[in-house]
Symmetry: C2
Subunit: 111 residues, 2 copies
Amino acid sequence: MQEPTFLILTALAAAPLHGYGIVQSVLGLSEGEVKLRPGTLYGALDRLAEQGLVEVEREEAVEGRLRRYYRLTDQGAAALSTEVRRLRRRATAAETQLNDRHGIVPGLGTA
Amino acid sequence: MQEPTFLILTALAAAPLHGYGIVQSVLGLSEGEVKLRPGTLYGALDRLAEQGLVEVEREEAVEGRLRRYYRLTDQGAAALSTEVRRLRRRATAAETQLNDRHGIVPGLGTA
DNA sequence: TCGGATAGTACGGTTGACGTTATATGACGT
DNA sequence: ACGTCATATAACGTCAACCGTACTATCCGA
């Protein structure tokens, strides 16, 4: 799972949002680092809906504009939790390896 | 940065390794989850070398077979550290959002 | 009136991972 | 002798996902 997808699921975890709301939420969650483009957002949303990780909660027409609200499914929440654990394991593994950097020089022992 | 790339950098963080050694290391680091295919591995290695995140340490000929050892550069170590911090922030953000799930029902207050 | 925020659709391009095949040698089993 | 597995790298083609941009449309503020 890539970052944009992960952040979209994260945004929907707390409450259902419509497309533009997701963009705002992700912007906040990523501390301004990730501003979703329409192509990324709606492409991911279609994909995630097909996979059953999100679903359309309702459609609203506000001032002639359509608002489609998406909700995280239980399956989506489970997938997100799994991904969180994976990220944590990866981060820990990398840190351990980095701590070995410039580590034990072979042949010099403790003399 | 995607998972295979991240794991390759992680594998090289502790010590230089050649291609096949990276495959074994990543297999261990990912608890058997990620088995790198040649296409993924050498493609990533070429890309990372171009970006200056890894470099060829030395080439060895063992029994007629070439062994090319790759080393993580300082720039590569920095990139990996940055990515570790990012993963940790993403994991924390997602967990916070998940904790709000089935959260406060609007309109019911504390009555 | 022009720009920016809101809201979604459509389309083409690029990147990076994926899968498979090819090449080559040594070890091991049958 | 032959097949298979492990080691080791190269070289394809394919696909998923993200990216950028343009388009449509409405409302608001400068």
